[in-house]
C-alpha cells in the first residue's frame, strides 16, 4: 500500500490558525504552479515505476479554490505517471465557500470519490473568529451538492468561547447532511500564527477544558454512529480514510508540490516551503527537496509504534513481528508492564485504552528506543 499527496498552496484568505504553506495573494500563479506539479510528477515517475498506489490525496491550502480543470489535469497526470489502482481512494479537500455544482460535478467525473470539507464550526461567530471565509449556510449548500457522495467533515475544538453545544451542533450538522467521516481536531496554536496571540493572552481554553470538550465530542460522535479509529478521526463503518491509515501504518507515500513530505523506502524527505524556490527548482529540472533523512531500523520501529498507538486498533502484533522479525511483547515488555493500566493487551494487539488516547504522548515515550 502506498499513497500520493499533492499540495495546493492557495487560499481565498489565510485562516487565523493556519500554519500550512498557503499563499492567498499568489493565487494568480496557480496555472504555473500546477504545471510545475505535473512536471514534478513526471520527474519522480521513473524511480517509482514498481510502486502500486491506491490513494491520491489533494490537500492544501484550498484545492477547491483553483480552477477545477487544473484538478482534472492533476488526476490525469497521476494516472498517467503512476500505477494508481482502479479502486483507488481519491480525496480532495474543499472549503465550503469555494465550491459550485459544476466544480463538484467535474471532480466526480475525473474520478475523485472522497471529499474532505472544512466546516470547523457550525457557529458563524466562531467561524468569523477563526478567519474562515464561509458561513454555516455555505457549508449546508456545499453538503447538499455532495449529497450521496462519500465525504468527511473537519471540525475543531479548543476554540475561544466555544461551548459543548457548539461542538454538538457541528457534529449534528455534519451527520444530518450525510458525512460518513468526521475529523475532530483540537486547535493547536502555532507560534507565528495570529491565533497564537489569543493563546499567549490566555483566551483559549486550557488543556483540561479541551480534554473535557474532546470527551464530550467523542460521546456525541458515538451516539451518532461515528466510531473513533484514530485519536482525531471518526467514521461510519468501513469509511476510514485509507490515505491517512497508510500514514499511521507507516506506509510509503510520495508528496508533490510546495512543503509536501514523502517517505519512500527508509528515507523521509520534504519539499521547500518557498513558492519561488519550488518554481526555480522544477523549471531547472531539479527536485525541490530541502530536507532528507535516512531512517535507521530503530527509528523505523519507533515510528511504527508511535503511529500505530495513535489508532484505536493499536499495534497489530503479528504484523509487527512480520515487519521487524521480533516479538512485540518481548521487545517492549518493560514499556508494556509500566503502562499496563493504560493499555489493552491481547494476543493480537496492544492498544491504548480509549480514555487514555488523549494523553498518549506520555505513554508512547516509554516505547521509544532512539
Amino acid at each position: 500500500m502506498a499513497g500520493i499527496y499533492v499540495h495546493i498552496p492557495f487560499c481565498k484568505s489565510k485562516c487565523r490558525y493556519c500554519d500550512f504553506a498557503s499563499f492567498p495573494d499568489k493565487i494568480g500563479l496557480a496555472e504555473s504552479y500546477m504545471a510545475c506539479v505535473y512536471r514534478e510528477m513526471a520527474m519522480r515517475a521513473p524511480e517509482l515505476r514498481d510502486y502500486a498506489f491506491n490513494t491520491l490525496y489533494i490537500g492544501g491550502g484550498t484545492p477547491s479554490v483553483i480552477d477545477e480543470s487544473y484538478i482534472a489535469m492533476l488526476v490525469a497526470a497521476a494516472k498517467k505517471h503512476y500505477s494508481l489502482s482502479n479502486d483507488a481512494e481519491i480525496t480532495i479537500e474543499l472549503n465550503p465557500g469555494t465550491v459550485s455544482a459544476s466544480k463538484i460535478d467535474l471532480y466526480k467525473r475525473v474520478g475523485i470519490n472522497r471529499f474532505s470539507v472544512g466546516l470547523q464550526s457550525a457557529n458563524d461567530r466562531l467561524l468569523a473568529d477563526l478567519g474562515r471565509v464561509h458561513t454555516l449556510n455555505e457549508f449546508i449548500t456545499c453538503a447538499k451538492l455532495l449529497k450521496g457522495a462519500n465525504f468527511s467533515v473537519d471540525i475543531m475544538i479548543g476554540l475561544k468561547g466555544q461551548t459543548p453545544e457548539d461542538i454538538g451542533q457541528a457534529i449534528a450538522v455534519a451527520d444530518m447532511y450525510g458525512a460518513s467521516h468526521i475529523s475532530m481536531y483540537a486547535l493547536t496554536p502555532e507560534d507565528g500564527t495570529p491565533i497564537y496571540t489569543d493563546y499567549l493572552n490566555g483566551e483559549l481554553p486550557d488543556g483540561d477544558e479541551v480534554a473535557e470538550q474532546y470527551a464530550f465530542g467523542v460521546r456525541e460522535l458515538k451516539k451518532r454512529g461515528f466510531e473513533r479509529y484514530e485519536v482525531s478521526n471518526f467514521c461510519k463503518r468501513g469509511k476510514e480514510s485509507r490515505h491517512n491509515l497508510n500514514y499511521w501504518r507507516r506506509g510509503e507515500y510520495i508528496g508533490f508540490g510546495v512543503s509536501a513530505s514523502s517517505c519512500i523506502k527508509d528515507v523521509r524527505f520534504t519539499n521547500t516551503f518557498d513558492l519561488d524556490e519550488y518554481f526555480k527548482c522544477i523549471i531547472s529540472n531539479h527536485f525541490a527537496v530541502i530536507d532528507r533523512q535516512e531512517i535507521s531500523p530503530a527509528e523505523r520501529r519507533d515510528e511504527y509504534v508511535m503511529l500505530a498507538l495513535r489508532t484505536a486498533a493499536g499495534v497489530d502484533t503479528a504484523e509487527y513481528e512480520k515487519l521487524f522479525g521480533v516479538s512485540f511483547a518481548a521487545e517492549y515488555a518493560a514499556a508494556i508492564a509500566k503502562n499496563v493500566d493504560y493499555l489493552e493487551v491481547t494476543d493480537k494487539s496492544v492498544r491504548i485504552k480509549d480514555e487514555y488516547l488523549f494523553v498518549q504522548n506520555t505513554i508512547i515515550i516509554d516505547f521509544l528506543e532512539s
Partner: protein, 602 residues
C-alpha cells in the same frame, strides 16, 4: 643559630567581599613589576572560573614580589590570599598561620562588615600585625574619617596612620608598600634548625603529584631531600621546590622565613594533609608546629548522579575536588528515591553551592542534590548518643529520648532603619537576642543566637532583601542545645520519599509541611493519575495537596508531514523524562529536590 632573611615580609589581605582585596593585590603586583599590565587578566589571584564570576576567592593563591624600599634595600614580599567569605574561615586561619602581617582593607564608604571583623579577630588570635588601609577614597560617598573611627572603636586598632588609597585608580599604593616594610615584622625562626614547614594548602597536579604550599618556619628544604609529614610515616624524595612568581618558579631550595611550594611525587593528599608540618626525614624536628583547628563540616547534603550509571564518575569527581579542597568530606550513601550517591559535608552553604557547581561544570556531570541539613545530636532512650545529618537515618521516634541541634552566634551589622525587620526575622527563626551596640549613628551591631538549621535555608537572602542589601552577617558555631525536633516526612502517592524528608522544629513543622506540599504541587508535573502530596510527622498526616492527572497530552494531527515533528516532540519529552526520578510510580524532576529549600514565598 641563623636568623632568616630580615628582608622578607609575609602577609595576607583581609577584606569584605567587594571591598577591593583582589584589586589591591593586583596593584601591589603591578607596582612591584611582578606582572606587566598588559599580561594581567582582570584579577590575577582569583584564578578559578567560579571565583572570578562570583568575585570571591576560595583557594589560597600565594604570590612573591620584590620591592625596593625607601631605605634602598630590596625586600621580598609573599602575599598569601585569603578567602573573604564566612564559609572559608578555616582556609583563612591556614593563610594567617603562614604570615606575620595582615592588611585590613576597609571600604571608605561602607565601613567594617561582619565578615571582616571575624577575620580580624582570627588574625589577632594568630598574633599578626594588622595594617588598616582605607580603600575606595575616590568614591563620592567615601567617608574615610568615619571608617577610621570605626576601626578604632570596633576593633580597637590605631588607624591614624592608615593609608588612604584607591586601588582602582592606583592612588597611594606606594604608601602601602612602604608600610608593609615598616610595620610588618621580618620572619622569626632558625635557618640552622631541623626543617619545619607548615603546609597551608595543596593541590593535585597530574604530572607532579600533590604540590604542597608551605611556609618554612625553621631550617631549609632542597631538591633531593627526604621529607615526611608528622602525621604519617611515609617518606618522599623532594623533586622540586620553588616560589610563586606568580605561577610556580623552581628554585634550588627554600629557607626559613620563605613561602613556596614542594613537589615530591606524593600520590595521595591524605598522606601529607594541609595543616601538617613537613620535616626532613633524615634530620627530623622534635615536634610539629602547632596545627590549626581541624575542619568541621557545618552543612550536609546528599549528592546523586542524575544518571544512575554515573556513580563512579561522581566518585571520581569528588575525589579530585577533595585533592584541592580538604574541607570537602563525603561518603557513599543510598536513597530509595535517588539510588546510589554520596553524603557530603561542607563548611557552609556557599561552599556547598560551589562544590555542586564545580561538579557540574568541571566534570560535566548532572547531579541531584538534596536539601542541606545540619548534624543533630540524638540521645536515645537507652542512653546511646549519635550524630545524624541525614533525616532518613534518624532512629524511630519511639527510641529517641531527646535531640539537640547546633546553635550559632550570629553577628549582624546594619543601618538602624532596618533593626525592626532584622529582629522580626531573627524571632521567626527562633533566635535569642543577646546584645545590640550602636557603633555610630549609622550602624548597629546585633548579636543573636540562632539554630543553625534555621539559617542554612534562606536566612542570608532574607537579611539581604529585608535590608536592601545594607546589612552584613556572619556566624560561628557555638554548640548544641536541646530542642523539640521532629522528622517531617513527605509522601508522594502514599509512598514516603526519603530524599524529601527533613528534621524541623516542632513549632514550625505544620507551616513547613504545608508550604512544602504547596511547592511540590507546583513542581511535580501532572502524571496520568492523580498524585496526593502529603506531609506527615510520625505517621500522622499534617498537610495534603493534590497534583491533578494530566488530561491532554497529544499531537492532534499527525499526517505525512507531521511524523518527523511528532517524533521530535516525543524525543524532547523523553529527554525531559530522563531527568526525572521515579518515586514509586510518580516521576519527579530533579529540581524538585531543591524545591524544599524554598520555605517561604515572601
Amino acid at each position: 643559630m641563623k636568623k632568616p632573611n630580615a628582608r622578607i615580609r609575609n602577609f595576607c589581605i583581609i577584606a569584605h567581599i567587594d571591598h577591593g582585596k583582589s584589586t589591591l593585590a593586583d596593584r601591589l603586583m603591578e607596582m612591584t613589576g611582578q606582572v606587566s599590565k598588559r599580561d594581567m587578566e582582570a584579577q590575577l589571584l582569583d584564578s578559578m572560573d567560579i571565583e572570578r564570576e562570583r568575585g570571591i576567592t576560595i583557594k589560597l593563591t600565594p604570590v612573591r614580589m620584590f620591592y625596593t624600599a625607601a631605605d634602598g634595600e630590596e625586600y621580598t614580599f609573599n602575599l598569601i590570599d585569603t578567602p573573604g567569605h564566612v564559609d572559608f574561615t578555616y582556609e583563612v586561619s591556614r593563610s594567617l598561620a603562614a604570615c606575620e602581617g595582615a592588611i585590613l582593607i576597609v571600604d571608605a564608604s561602607q565601613g567594617i562588615e561582619a565578615q571582616t571583623l571575624a577575620n580580624v579577630y582570627l588574625a589577632l588570635e594568630n598574633n599578626l600585625e594588622i595594617l588598616p588601609v582605607i580603600n575606595k577614597i575616590d568614591l563620592p560617598s567615601a567617608r574615610p574619617d568615619e571608617a577610621k573611627k570605626e576601626i578604632e572603636d570596633v576593633i580597637g586598632l590605631d588607624a591614624s596612620y592608615a593609608p588612604l588609597v584607591s586601588a582602582k585608580e592606583g592612588t597611594n599604593i606606594g604608601e602601602v608598600l612602604e608600610d608593609i616594610v615598616k610595620y610588618f615584622p621580618a620572619p622569626s625562626g632558625d635557618e640552622d634548625a631541623p626543617l619545619k614547614a607548615l603546609i597551608f594548602d595543596s593541590y593535585y597536579d597530574n604530572y607532579k603529584g600533590v604540590i604542597l604550599f608551605v611556609r618554612v618556619k625553621d631550617g631549609k628544604v632542597s631538591v633531593g631531600d627526604r621529607i615526611r609529614g608528622f602525621r604519617s610515616d611515609k617518606v618522599y624524595d623532594v623533586t622540586e621546590v620553588g616560589v610563586f612568581a606568580p605561577g610556580m618558579l623552581p628554585k634550588d631550595g627554600l629557607f626559613a622565613g620563605e613561602v613556596g611550594y614542594i613537589a615530591a611525587s606524593i600520590k595521595s593528599i591524605q598522606d601529607v594533609a594541609v595543616g601538617d608540618t613537613v620535616t626532613n626525614a633524615d634530620a627530623p624536628a622534635a615536634e610539629p608546629l602547632p596545627g590549626y583547628k581541624k575542619v568541621q563540616s557545618v552543612v550536609y547534603c546528599g549528592i546523586y548522579p542524575l544518571d544512575g550509571s554515573k556513580f563512579n564518575d561522581l566518585n571520581e569527581a569528588l575525589l579530585k575536588l577533595q585533592l584541592n579542597d580538604a574541607s570537602l568530606i563525603f561518603e557513599p550513601d543510598t536513597s530509595v528515591a535517588l539510588g546510589f550517591g554520596f553524603r557530603c559535608g561542607f563548611l557552609g552553604l556557599l561552599h556547598m553551592e560551589i562544590i555542586q557547581e564545580r561538579i557540574e561544570r568541571e566534570f560535566n556531570l548532572d547531579i541531584i542534590t538534596t536539601a542541606p541539613s545540619v548534624s543533630y545530636k540524638v540521645v536515645k532512650t537507652d542512653g546511646e548518643q549519635l550524630y545524624v545529618d541525614n533525616p532518613s537515618h534518624l532512629p524511630p521516634q519511639s527510641e529517641i529520648d531527646y535531640m539537640e541541634e547546633p546553635i550559632v552566634k550570629a553577628d549582624i551589622y546594619s543601618p538602624p532603619d532596618y533593626l525592626g525587620q532584622i529582629m522580626d526575622l531573627c524571632r521567626d527563626k527562633r533566635g535569642t537576642f543577646i546584645s545590640m551596640n550602636y557603633l555610630d549613628a549609622n550602624r548597629v551591631q546585633l548579636v543573636y543566637e540562632l539554630p543553625l538549621n534555621e539559617i542554612i535555608f534562606d536566612f542570608f537572602d532574607q537579611i539581604k532583601s529585608r535590608t536592601r542589601g545594607y546589612a552584613s552577617f556572619d556566624y560561628e558555631l557555638k554548640g548544641y542545645s536541646r530542642s523539640k525536633l521532629v522528622k517531617l516526612d513527605i509522601l508522594l502517592n502514599g509512598e514516603p520519599c526519603d530524599a524529601l524528608s527533613m528534621i524541623v522544629h516542632e513549632d514550625s513543622a505544620y507551616t513547613r509541611g504545608r508550604t512544602l506540599c504547596e511547592n511540590l504541587k507546583e513542581a511535580i508535573p501532572r502524571q496520568l493519575f492523580e498524585v496526593p502530596v502529603q506531609a506527615a510527622i510520625g505517621g500522622k498526616i499534617i498537610a495534603r495537596e493534590t497534583v491533578k492527572a494530566v488530561r491532554k497530552d497529544v499531537l492532534a494531527k499527525c499526517y505525512g508531514g507531521d511524523i518527523t515533528r511528532k517524533k521530535k516532540l516525543l524525543e524532547k519529552q523523553k529527554e525531559g523524562k530522563k531527568r526525572m526520578r521515579s518515586i514509586g510510580s510518580v516521576e519527579v524532576p530533579s529540581e524538585v529536590f531543591m524545591q524544599i529549600l524554598k520555605t517561604n514565598k515572601d
